[in-house]
Amino acid sequence: MNEWGVAALVLFAVLAVCLVLPALFDPIDGLIALEIAGTTGTAILLLLAEFVNRQSFVDLALVFALLSFVGALVFVRLLERGT
């Protein structure tokens, strides 16, 4: 495994932290964890595209970056109104 794979593995640990945290704190803190998980997931997809040496896989990272932005905005609207 080269340095790209190792970096992706380390980032999976960051992703695990962002998954556990929302269970312990306020929903709005979970939203912040979701935003960090979005950038971390994008970084993992970029690293895996470089790791498996398939250049077209980087499209996944680009689409995921756009969709995680929109998804987080939807959750912001939801949490602003509800409980």
Partner: protein, 109 residues
Amino acid sequence: MTVVGVVVAVLLALGVGLQLVAALGLVAMRDTFARLHYPGVSGFGLAAIAVAIFVREGFSMIGDKALATAAVTLLAGPVLVHVTARAARVRRLGDWKVQPGERVEEVER
């Protein structure tokens, strides 16, 4: 190891390190507004990783798209942090504006 290899390794370590700092800050900080500082750190970590890929690959399909991904994240990050802070105030106080009795420090002119 070539110069490009060293630059790529440094950028990659910086990017992963910033992501780890973001996760650590998320766990260590006490309230919502302190935690809100860390999505930006995470975004810059992603940008460092994307630049590492760009330095290795140059202007190719993967290099260009890595830079585009970093640009999207760096533009979206401040917007997300702002609307999240606004939502946190609305949840807590009912409105995002300054509430009566709330102490606001005056800006010195």
